[in-house]
Symmetry: D2
Subunit: 312 residues, 4 copies
């Protein structure tokens, strides 16, 4: 049995080469990297937002998490706080509503002060053929993802500028924001809008001490994402074969990247768009990548055929 | 006086090299290219929309133009129709309102049938430092550009699919949709969203016979754009120097490109994004392009300095 | 039997929706669009180069075609010339050799004068797992595609500048120049290099009256490309299913696009990159596009599952 | 005096807002992150290569640095080794020569074994109007940057595959690889080629346990880069004003990013392109970013003019 086919001990739902790409899930940055810093994470109660909040808290940040479900937020806040010993505040906020966003920032100012680190992570999404989508279906996603991110960013930006305070803004988008994708079209459009918003402000608001960066995650198993994007689980199976690293990403890996980009180690990074996808996008996009299915023997045959070709 | 500096007869507001890039404003496609076709153009009453409508009408299309100001539309419709002898219908429609969009398509179906050619051209925009923008200011642009385009596209897509009718969709975005830009941030975000929408549907709705393409115009003088983007005229002057072709674009040039992409000559073009900007974007984006200001004598000096450098 | 599955009369190797995207292969531009113009086309003896030469000649250009095989060039030149009544010159030239390129331009100057239109179309390519590639294998492709294009462009650029003559430069690259692709790696790298070359010069040489544009073709059946990229024909079959327009492109379609970009109708287009691929790239790249395989009944089931999801 | 104009203590050659973006130059990753790993860095004797080698060595890697000047390499090797206590090997190698590359890898195998971390950092570059460039001038850059990177990558890739060993490959390109840039055209073309090479192999060689990523640096002061790109220093002064973070980058900051991408913390990152430029690219590219020069009073006037505009 060749090395290429060995698989003992590989996690379920992964390809052989994932042995080479084992996840390192420990905290990466030096302890205290976010001491005396306040971090604001939308959608911080669940999934990737929770993972990022955990790492920032472990690194010393005082965190404020916000989304619609206060109960969920509070449970997460307590859980993280007891792990790290740092305060985590839960604030209810529907980002689609500018008034709610403003109230939330008021609360944050009272609780912890204006943030040094902002992560726009809240989102909604579901798979659907676009011809089955109503105007309301369209808005149910874009209002959260694009308008919500804009309202949070405008509100915080204005207050930070007024207070002459610098900050790092990070948005979590997706690998299909640049390429587009069928069947998740409102999400693709809104995330592309978020990317333009962030690139624009990286240029415009640098003079106020603000950085803006973007992470484009590929598939990372969270309940929120997978229950609405792959309800049957069929998609995941096929996906693994086109991910060069042979596995899904882990929330803790994303959290380390997010912490880095939000930290002073990255104080010269602004306007950057970091794809974090195990190689999935380049693998899907390259016209001849399907030839990975060709076996060595077939290659020999094909090479002979090519060599014997004469002229054009 | 060197050839490089001659300028006799050059249009006002252009650089010397524009002599090499004189606009050809005649209709390009063969007569009758759009015979028996219906074209729907949002914002078709003014500026670029009017120019595109004119050319499509000259090429035999029955056109339907739609925007908020019925009077403006009617004036344009009459003007074009008397020029070309083809019917041009004016339909009032605020694209931000899904009900208005649906009513408008009803009217179009009654007047001319479902369209073969759709051009999403309506937009709003103005320059503004982002920290001076309210949530309503943000929505005043994104609701037209992103939601408006989506509502038009969803409504027409559904009806075309139901009627098993193919169509060409074209969106007019802008060169800063990909790069982002400060001071026009809602426009940048919304246009980026439109691009993702179109790339997504190019992939998803090909099976229904639909193509989706994008033109990204650079600066083309229209009252609508320039009065809100360059009210003082100061910007235009500077801009010319960074446009490699040394002049602004003309509406008729854009109209020829739009007609081509909407025609059967382009039936294999889908998911394409065509920049139409006199070279402005590549000129702005390249890190060393400012060196165009270096004179030949200075180059000689610099080359000597470089040659004399030792080691790293 | 539904409209979606009808296929009577469809050309072999195409999907049902290709009925909506029938190729229009007649010449598009007005007669005489290239009268009194000289066009230089590398690789003009075969495939796409031959198709472009044919259309430019039909539109009145005096053409000069150049590549290694003089006999092939001469046969093509005679064939086109007798069709169009315009002179077509055949000049032997291996673009990898700067001396040969210079000699070729000398010959062209003597025969027809310096060109108004330049199309860098010559290329080499074959599929191969990269670990089977020697340094010589690497260079066999990159020397033609990247260095060859650069040598032709530098030689012509210098002479045109010296003669104060404007020109349109067009490069034929490929859809995987931006994304990269396994199994055609030297081609991907070299074509990406060509794109950067052209975008750079669009910015730098505008002041000399030169435009630079790029066409990225998707799969168009030519002997040269397909015999070395799909020797068994297996690839083509699979490819059709991911092309939204359901068919391959035709040389005559590409030729119309190339003629447009090289004409005065496009005198404001510079630094543009026009994808011409039936939608293939956006279709491959979008993460959820595989869901096109889901049937309407399966969608109903999936929607029910998604709707019943609670929380994140 | 407003906060916006304060500058006390700011490093020379920086803008006011750089106070918000002070560089953090300490080592970021946990100690021992590269224990028992071998790292190979081309151009590791000077500039950014030296900075990356230093950090990897501090983190426990055994480093092998290679370039043309053995003496320079040896001096750097000794210097780093005495700082970190880890072995640093100096191997002479001209990357343009496949035979030299193969010999170098032989030596590395004997000294340290095959590498776990490969950084393709060697490059050449100088500013020059392209019409002053000979074919040899073109090749003097592209042979190092594109062919050199390819030869190193092919040689190491083949041996690693044969030995069933995974590895992280990192290439240092530049922000103008995607946009192109005049006056550094061979560099732009070759770096774009390197990016396509890496994206292609990220897709193709994942199955062998290899990751491929790219850093695109903006301006970081090193003798090698600045003496050949900005011999007079005039360029640097202008550049600062278009960098949103108001300062140049530091080698140690780049080194932390490079170490992260090469580490197991990034084992799910492949095919990524990370811009590291203080926001320069988004700032240059956005069409309206020049409006940063408009003062608050001028904005008031412009807003009044825009508000008074009627119609389109
Ligand atoms: N997991 C992946 O594979 C993946 C891939 C690409 C991108 N992403 C992105 O990663 C981010 C996190 O996703 P996830 O996978 O962690 O899924 P998730 O757990 O469902 O996270 C989404 C969060 O957004 C919050 N949210 C939704 N609507 C909101 C609203 N109107 N106002 C405020 N908060 C709202 C939700 O909280 P409430 O319900 O309490 O409001 C929830 O905490 C999202 O931006 C997603 O697009 C994820
Ligand atoms: N000119 C340029 O330099 C330039 C550059 C890049 C992109 N563009 C794009 O080109 C397109 C045309 O611009 P233009 O220069 O021709 O300017 P314009 O004359 O102002 O065109 C905008 C059109 O949109 C219509 N519109 C605005 N809001 C609408 C709404 N809510 N519902 C329906 N229609 C609406 C307007 O008509 P009503 O007022 O009657 O509604 C108007 O006809 C726009 O998409 C613009 O972003 C232009
Ligand atoms: N067909 C497609 O699907 C497709 C897709 C994407 C891109 N393209 C691009 O389209 C262009 C044309 O390709 P094609 O399909 O028409 O294939 P083709 O017929 O093989 O064309 C290649 C041409 O390049 C010439 N050539 C090769 N090496 C040369 C050298 N060293 N010096 C001068 N000329 C040389 C060949 O002529 P000699 O042998 O006489 O030298 C030949 O005429 C190429 O750039 C290709 O990459 C094609
Ligand atoms: N500094 C910046 O602002 C900046 C910005 C963007 C990108 N970069 C990139 O960063 C990398 C490092 O640049 P740097 O600023 O550190 O400049 P540098 O000190 O000049 O580094 C270039 C290195 O490449 C080596 N090299 C050159 N030709 C070689 C050959 N034929 N074979 C082997 N090695 C060769 C040189 O060593 P020998 O002379 O001993 O051969 C030198 O160590 C380069 O890829 C550069 O393009 C730098």
């Amino acid at each position: 049995q060749s090395w290429f086919h060995r698989s003992a001990g590989r996690p379920f739902g992964s390809a052989p080469q994932s042995d080479f790409f084992r996840p390192e899930e420990g905290v990466m940055l030096p302890a205290g990297s976010f001491s005396n810093k306040v971090a604001f994470i939308t959608g911080g109660g669940t999934g990737l937002g929770k993972a990022m909040t955990t790492v920032l808290s472990q690194l010393g940040a005082q965190c404020v998490i916000a989304s619609r479900k206060l109960e969920v937020l509070q449970k997460t806040a307590t859980e993280i706080s007891s792990l790290t010993g740092k305060e985590v505040h839960a604030v209810q906020c529907d980002v689609r509503d500018p008034k709610a966003v403003s109230d939330c920032v008021n609360q944050m100012e009272a609780l912890a002060g204006l943030p040094d680190v902002i992560i726009n992570n809240a989102a909604g999404n579901f798979v659907c053929p676009t011809e089955r989508l109503s105007p309301n279906g369209w808005k149910s996603i874009t209002d959260i993802v694009l308008n919500g991110t804009a309202f949070v960013t405008l509100e915080l930006g204005k207050r930070l500028i007024q207070n002459q305070k610098g900050a790092s803004f990070l948005a979590i988008t997706t690998i299909y924001a640049e390429t587009g994708s069928g069947f998740v079209v409102p999400s693709a459009s809104a995330k592309a809008g978020v990317e333009a918003l962030y690139k624009s402000l990286a240029a415009e608001w640098g003079r106020y001490g603000h950085r803006f960066n973007i992470i484009q995650p590929g598939p990372i198993k969270t309940k929120g994402a997978f229950s609405r994007l792959d309800p049957t689980g069929a998609f995941e199976k096929n996906m693994i074969h086109r991910i060069p690293t042979g596995r899904l990403g882990r929330p803790a890996e994303l959290a380390n990247l997010a912490a880095y980009l939000s930290s002073d180690y990255a104080s010269w990074i602004s306007g950057a768009v970091v794809r974090f996808d195990g190689g999935e996008l380049v693998s899907m996009g390259g016209e001849f990548n399907e030839l990975r299915k060709v076996t060595p023997d077939q290659w020999k045959m094909m090479e002979a055929m090519i060599r014997s070709t004469k002229g054009s």
